[in-house]
Amino acid sequence: MLTTIREKTQGAFAWVILLAIGIPFALWGIQNYIDAGKVAPVASVGDKDFYQNDVNRAYEQYAQQFRGLGVDEQTLKAQALDKLIKDEVLLQYAHAKGLVATDQEARDFIKNLDYFKVDGKFNEQRYKSLLSAQRMTSNEFVARIKNALIMQQLQESISDTGFATPYDVESFFKIQNQQRDFNYVTVALPKLTEQPSNEEINAYYQQHQDQFKTSEQISVAYVELSLDAIAQKVEVTEDKLKAYYAEQKDQYSTPERRKISHILFAVTKDTDEKAALAKAQKAKAELANKDFAKLAAEVSDDKLTAKSGGDLGLFNAGSMEKSFEEAVGKLKLGEVSEPVKSSFGYHLIKVTELVPGETKPFDSVKAEVEKAYRKAQAESVFYDSGEKLAEMSYENPDNLDAVAQALGLTVNKTDFFTKAAGVGIAANPKIREAAFSDEVLQGNNSAPVEVSSEHVVVLRKLDHKPAAIQALDSVKAGIVAQLQAEKAKKQALEKAQKLKEALRSGETLANLAANEKLDVKTLTGYTRSKTEIPDALSEAVFKAAKPQAGKPTILIAELPGGSQAVASLTKVTPGVMSEDDKKKMDLATKNIAKAFGQADFNAMLATLETDADIEVTQPEVGEAKTQE
């Protein structure tokens, strides 16, 4: 898993750019930047401070890449912070070394970003609106892009200039394709009939007390108040629903939509009111055989809308002068008004689209109305009861019955649960936290726990089991199995070691195996990339010393499950390039070069990090966020 992450991050320098771009376009607004002043920084590099917000934002970006890989949040957060610091170190170094990106480069880069494209082409409008939505000037944004570009320039100048010589490639294949010949036998775990003695069991029990600990447990009684439950009890009659429906009609109506166009005859220094009116009347007459939009384009003094045929878009009540609005209200679809006076001059108005408002009939929304009604009625009850719940459970700290009676609630009970996990209501961490609070452990009612804004719980201790060590009897079977397994393994290992000694003093594996009735397996030309034998054995074989002076190297490897393999390594042959490898020689050279380049870059980054003044004040990044 971790290698996947490393592979994904390495070389993927795009991340920096993503971050540079992602910051402005993520959902967080400017207030994050402003709030940052009030809190202590989480980390700092030189005189640059990072706040929790920065880390959270970096984490969001980072997490998107690895979503679905099942990496836990804490690991990702720590890595995101680490990356943030590394990038800053790199950026400061790039600045110190005088690296710059030219305006042209930044421009070219921005123009190729998908964010700003409409129909596959850079769109100035979109660029501006996206930036202004983040209250960011183009200069600030370009500066960020330039930073990302010089970091990329720096990284690529190191990591992409790595090379591999023919010698490097040859030695790589020599070791990668190395072949080892060996044979081996497997010593299985013996089946033990003898039971371990009571002394042995007892000794194991005493020595491994940690294994047999149980966690602290508690069970609680609780009353709960929930908006839903109260809503279910609200009394509903047809009349009440109808009244509510009438009251809330807006909720069940869609407003009328009117799209309008106008032609303006402005009153100006040169055109007095009369002249404007005359022009308007003349135009109105012309409309008898002329298109409204065309005329608007020709004569309207509202130059902004003239081009689009006088279109003013959707009409919102309350945004225009009264005379204008009244006129609009009276018009039918397609009809043109008489000249209407406003402070601008005279208007001819036309309604170009009219979708009448609609109110859904009561019967069709009855279920919805009922739900809303219940909720509305329940809300006030919920808040009143919530206050009473808090008061009464505090005043009667030694029982829940009083408050349950007063509020008509039932007292429920849970099974035992621990601090870490529970079922039912105890699945909620807030409940578990309250249950293990001092006040509850001492036998009092808890303070009201807000499970959600519509669900409140008060609980008290029913029964409590402190952390304990399980009695020997209840764990005896497990200990016996454990001891048997250990013994069997020990015996297998002893036998393997005897075989090894015999082999080292010159016995052949074939002879020994025949005596012990074991199977000899022989493998020739085995390479690291093969998978015929268990990994543990393969690793041990390739880690074993090469045979000296014709004498095989003997090794033991523990296989999964505890059986032991005894192997005799007879021959090591340096690897050569296969025909297949030769065909891919260019690719291999490139890959090795890339690995060298990347290593150089990492070494450089590590050096810069050592030299930089880095402080991380909060090792557990984002603790607060995980509490949600």
Partner: protein, 221 residues
């Protein structure tokens, strides 16, 4: 400061002060303005210069990417001549060395890297040195390679020490000095070496167990 009784007195005081200090004030302000202007000019000049270097280097990188080594040489020469000492000059050296290796001109690549070592800041100089030694490994100049590594003050190696140690290990392997190679690889691993090959190379040099003598050896594992 004295407290003046009337506005006239104040005015008189100001005039007197100006008579005494006027010239030096004017000169001071003028010098200040000149300094600021000069500084701005110098900075603009520097910025233009680095912009140009950056621009040339970008062209160079594009030529490398477009597999057009012919165009790289003149650009690189220009960077060395006009912008020597900038990071861009050093980067162009690294680019050139890579191209030369790809063409099989190891000697040429060595010369370029030598130059980068001489003129660069310490991080780039480490990188160029490591690459130069790797070339020496390929051309059989093992002793010289070891010497180049040993020249470096261990105190300033910092993040590069694992790379140096691993390379030293490779040199020792080539010279068949296996014990020293093993130590070098082990050092590389201890200083956090991450190269995937490193562990394999070290495992390949495992010391054989001592040959059993007359008395049976008790071996636990």
């Amino acid at each position: 400061m004295a407290i003046y009784d009337s506005e006239e007195e104040q005015l008189e005081a100001v005039k007197a002060w100006w008579k005494e200090n006027g010239t030096s004030t004017i000169v001071g302000v003028a010098v200040g303005i000149a300094l600021i202007a000069g500084w701005n000019y110098w900075r603009t000049h520097q910025q233009e210069k680095t912009s140009e270097a950056s621009n040339i280097y970008s062209q160079l990188v594009k030529s490398v990417e477009a597999n057009n080594p012919g165009a790289v040489e003149p650009l690189s020469k220009r960077l060395q001549a006009e912008f020597g000492g900038t990071s861009y000059a050093a980067y162009s050296g690294l680019q050139q060395a890579k191209l030369k290796v790809q063409k099989g001109d190891l000697a040429g690549a060595k010369a370029v890297l030598q130059e980068v070592i001489g003129q660069s800041n310490k991080e780039l100089s480490h990188i160029a040195r490591l690459r130069l030694v790797r070339l020496m490994l390929a051309t059989g100049e093992y002793e010289q390679g070891l010497q180049l590594i040993n020249e470096v003050d261990p105190a300033v190696k910092a993040g590069f020490s694992a790379s140096y140690d691993e390379l030293a290990g490779d040199l020792y392997v080539a010279m068949d000095r296996i014990d020293e190679a093993r130590t070098a690889y082990q050092n590389a691993l201890n200083s956090g070496g991450q190269s995937p090959l490193l562990k394999i190379k070290l495992d390949d040099l495992t010391v054989p167990e001592p040959v059993p003598v007359a008395q049976p050896v008790k071996d636990s594992k």
